[in-house]
């Protein structure tokens, strides 16, 4: 609903800059667009043939009592009708095809762009808002092609055709009809502006009304606790009434525009009749021409009358494309360096080092301040500390989800910012606190990111080591079991075992375990712990421990406090030291449920 704020502002219906970018984007469908556009003059010609055939039928055949000739004209008319239908079908299909293809490409482009953006971007932009960009805004832009640009171009061509044919048939009669154009232009322009302003007012009022409602729903408990229902309701009713009044204002102008154009159309008809009668009397005009003119005049006024609807479509398409371009223009803040140092696939485990790292998610709100530590190849290190001390942040810096503020993070002795992003992330694996599984089979979930380089035997081995053969075999369809969104059909413990197997398949040289905070049943816990130990074999592991009960066997424990390493050592040493770790340990023991 954040978009309500954006919706308050509706800009122009035509922005040259935006349309230019859209056009460049649609260039890959150039041929499709050109062939669609070529249909417009064709359709206009065929359409304009109809009144002309009517004129011929009346003047040359009906009035001349020529039945054979009339039948011939009727046959011609039928041919024109069929052709027009075929052309219209082709036009409708090509327009849809263009719009859908543009939408398809724009969506793919947006989604790919989002995949490249850094974690901090996602912290600030809720998923709902991004979904609106990828789904609704893209749809609005494609509308611009079908109901907006194409329709306007088609109308303009038809209008030009009507003008030309009328001038050619009888320029004097044509000028009589066109004498109303200045009035039409003035009225349409005036009402258009008023209607646009009125419509803006409607959007503004609606945004306010919805914002009020949204907030009301969020604060419902407060409203009810303080028995303020009556008070809130009258405030809501006032906003609702303001909105209704604005709506009516908009209706007044829209309807007036419509009625005025229609009345002008009839006035044009009256004018034609009046002037035409004189001409007929003077035998300077035939009946057929007069009748054809009446029909042409109708076609002249129709597109002008429907201009309003197209204007609105274009306006919202422009607003949407502006939002889409703003997103596309947002360059990823974290990207692989232009020239990534050549990196041979390292043999064996790798070292990790933090050198005087400072990091803040927001401004100067430092989470890590001058944090330094080293992890030797193959070492098993645990990071502990109170909640909110930045333990998980260390993992996010290691795989460059975020960049350090100051200092350096080194993997294999090389600054992570000099690594190729993909190889860094292939090198550093993370098992997250809350296990995310994806829609799809178990097998697909175990192969995440491995791009088909793993064999079934690799998978079997990983599943064996991770103790989750029983989990998979217990499922009705085994390896082929489809997981629902986020793996909701598995228990918490089962999901963790699968995540461990997934990490084994991924087989990174450095593994970071962000330990789950919520507990699982004792049996699963034993299985998980066992699997973790085997997972650690032959690689560097960093365990981010939220519960101290699991870190006793680590080679080294780092105690993170106030953004830096406060104590380090083995479990027994740290306990003997009687410092922060000893207190945390006591706290952990005390906090166990009684």
């Amino acid at each position: 609903m954040h978009d309500l704020e954006h919706d308050e502002i509706l800009g122009r219906a035509f922005d040259r800059h935006l349309v230019g970018r859209l056009a460049r984007m649609a260039r890959s469908h150039g041929r499709l667009i050109v062939s669609t556009a070529l249909l417009f003059p064709l359709i206009a010609c065929v359409e304009l043939l109809q009144p002309y055939l009517l004129k011929i039928a009346i003047d040359d055949h009906i009035l001349a009592a020529d039945w054979r000739g009339l039948t011939e004209v009727a046959a011609l008319f039928l041919g024109v009708l069929v052709m027009l239908s075929a052309l219209r079908a082709a036009e409708a299909y090509l327009m849809q095809l263009t719009a859908l293809r543009v939408m398809h490409d724009l969506r793919a482009m947006l989604f790919r762009h989002l995949l490249r953006l850094e974690a901090a971007f996602f912290d600030r932009n809720p998923v709902g808002r991004l979904m609106t960009r990828v789904l609704n805004d893209v749809e609005a832009v494609s509308e611009a092609f079908t109901s907006g640009l194409f329709a306007v171009v088609g109308d303009v061509i038809t209008l030009a055709g009507v003008v030309a044919v009328m001038l050619w048939m009888d320029w004097r009669l044509a000028l009589v009809t066109f004498s109303l154009v200045p009035a039409l232009g003035a009225i349409a322009g005036y009402f258009r502006i008023r209607a646009r302003d009125a419509y803006r007012e409607v959007r503004r009022r609606l945004a306010r009304l919805n914002a009020f409602l949204q907030e009301s729903l969020q604060g419902m408990t407060v409203i009810q606790l303080f028995a303020r229902e009556g008070h809130e309701f009258s405030a809501f009713r006032r906003l609702n009434a303001d909105y209704r009044r604005a709506m009516f204002g908009s209706t007044v102008w829209e309807a007036s525009l419509y009625a005025a154009v229609e009345a002008l159309g009839s006035a044009a008809l009256a004018l034609l009749l009046w002037y035409g009668a004189g001409q007929i009397a003077a035998e300077a005009l035939t009946f057929g021409t007069l009748v054809a003119f009446i029909q042409y005049t109708n076609r002249f006024f129709l597109p002008i009358r429907d201009l309003g609807a197209k204007y609105t479509v274009m306006q919202s398409a422009m607003a949407s494309s502006e939002r889409i371009f703003a997103l596309l223009d947002r360059a990823p803040a974290i990207a692989a360096p232009a020239v990534a140092g050549p990196r041979a696939e390292p043999q064996g485990p790798s070292p990790v080092a933090f050198k005087a790292v400072w990091f803040a998610y927001e401004g100067e709100d430092w989470v890590l301040r001058d944090c330094s530590f080293e992890v030797a190849p193959g070492e098993r290190v645990a990071i502990v500390g109170a909640t909110g001390e930045g333990k998980s942040t260390c993992a996010r810096l290691l795989n460059r989800s975020y960049d350090v503020g100051r200092g350096q993070v080194l993997v294999d002795g090389v600054d992570v910012r000099e690594w190729d992003l993909q190889s860094l992330r292939r090198h550093v694996g993370i098992i997250f606190q809350d296990t995310v599984l994806f829609t799809g089979t178990i097998e697909a979930n175990l192969q995440l990111g491995s791009d088909g380089r793993v064999t079934r035997a690799d998978l079997e081995r990983a599943v064996e080591v991770a103790n989750c053969r029983r989990v998979i075999e217990g499922l009705p369809r085994g390896w082929g079991e489809e997981l629902s969104e986020r793996g909701a059909n598995l228990s918490h413990g089962q999901r963790q075992l699968l995540a461990i197997a997934r990490a084994l398949v991924y087989n990174p040289a450095i593994l970071v375990l962000d330990e789950a905070t919520s507990s699982v049943d004792p049996e699963s816990e034993a299985l998980i712990r066992h699997a973790m130990t085997r997972l650690a074999e032959g690689r560097t592991t960093i365990t981010i421990a939220h519960r101290l009960s699991t870190v006793q066997s680590a080679d080294r424990i780092l105690v993170l406090h106030r953004g830096r390493i406060h104590e380090e050592g083995r479990h027994a040493e740290l306990l003997r030291l009687g410092g922060l770790y000893a207190r945390l340990w006591e706290l952990g023991v005390k906090s166990r449920p009684v």
Partner: protein
Amino acid sequence: MRVSSPARALTRYVTRYRLRYAAGVACLGAATLLSLAIPRTVQRAVEALEADAGGAPVGAYVGIILLLALGNGVARLGSRFAMMGSAQRVEYDVRNDLYRSLLRFPPAFYARHSIGDLMARSSSDISAVRVLAGFGAVSFISTVFAFVGALGAMIAVDPWLTLYALAPYPTLVALARRANVTIHERTQAAQDQLGVLSARVQEHLAAMSVVRAYTMEGQAAAEFDRANGEYLRRSLALGRTLSQFVPLTGLITGLGALIVLWLGGRAVMDGRLTLGALVAFNGYLAYLAWPTLALGFTLSIVRRGLTSMERIQEIVATAPAPEPHAAPLGGAPAIRFSNLTFAYEDRPPALREVSFEVTPGETVAVVGHTGSGKSTLGALLARLWEPPAGTVFVGGRDVGDLPLGTLRGALGYVPQEAFLFSRSISDNVTLGRSMIAPDVVRAAAAVAGVADEVERFPAGWETVVGERGLTVSGGQRQRLALARALAGAPAILVLDDVFASVDAAKEEEIVENLRRAAWGRTVLLMTHRLRAARAADRVVVLAEGRVAETGTHDELLGRGGLYAQLWRIQQLEEEIARA
């Protein structure tokens, strides 16, 4: 409660404006007649010209057409104003009723419905109802009038020609019916795939940390492409059907015109029809073209509108009945829980056999781990959730028997999550309660320990907070929520962990203020910070929903039980924080 049929519900709203609608229909009728009279006048003019080109009173006909056009414009405007205006009134009423219903639902309802869903019902669904009541009605009635009027006029000119001209129409109806089935199926298929596509986007965007860590970008893009491609394929299938159907209607109406030209032309040659009548006939037929084209569109408006009305009625018809008028609570401000066991839907009990009492003027603290059931006690007391009968008493009366207004008027309940509206600070404290004077607002804020900070804001008490205004800290929000409760001078104060985002020193100041201000007031204080509990007259310790211990701070420390353990933990936490 049974949800009445959406059509009946809509009718109830529409009949409130029956006079306006009647006026609108009358205007539409007049407009139809006047606009059909224009081709008729053209016919007469052409006939007069045919008869005598020089002496025809064309000026009179031209005048009549201008008058008719003017009359038609005015009548059309009138019909739009009346019917669109009424539809906007219907929208206004439906929206008011929906909001009124939303105000009555308890938190259990909001746990089941997302705000997004409720917003959708009160924006796009209500719009769909308005479109049905306005544009849909106009379009439907115009179609009926156009058919009746144009048919009448055509029959008056020549019944046989009318029959021939309309001969293609049954084919049109049959084709439309067949196309409708296909269109419906294919629309559904495309919509379903759009659902799959958005689920894919949502899943990957929500799990970006995993996507990144496992370098899944390529895989995610490939999956997206598959779903996106399938959506393109299904939309194109729909597009093909649509692009065949749309020109088909044009073809069929065109055939009508062709028949008129051919057979009508013959009739003119034979002298059975005047040229003017033929021209007028063409005009009437053209008049039918638009309503015919719009028929399918009108039907989809009706379908969409009724579905939306049903979604709105699901809320409105199931809203709890309005509460009886509230009287002030008689009796002393005492609280009693008596053998209270309570479970949220489908979950194990949050509270088990809880019994204790807070006597008038007493301050009792309830402490315990997260999830021990502290907050549930407050929520049941304020009847945000309904406690079982005979378990929770305020002023000696079962809370279930008290009108909500009476109960909540007696309670100053401050929930854990402090919520501020995007309004001024003083409005946030008074919440529109007119009896709360500015000096009361200040006094309440002073007790809550936030008055000085507010007065340092540039706009002071008139500072607008929230999304569109100044961002206040979590601690300030909690203290303003406390001030909001204090400002109403309730007999009973219920505070649910309101000091969570306030630092220890500030907390002590507020507790001290409260002790002085709460003189003679009954206070139930839920907290996980024992510092605040120490100041209470009595402490109740909850563990897994049961009362584990009760007593004063000193007694409980001496007993060396759960309370003593919690106390030690907090001291450790403070030591760690200070290290």
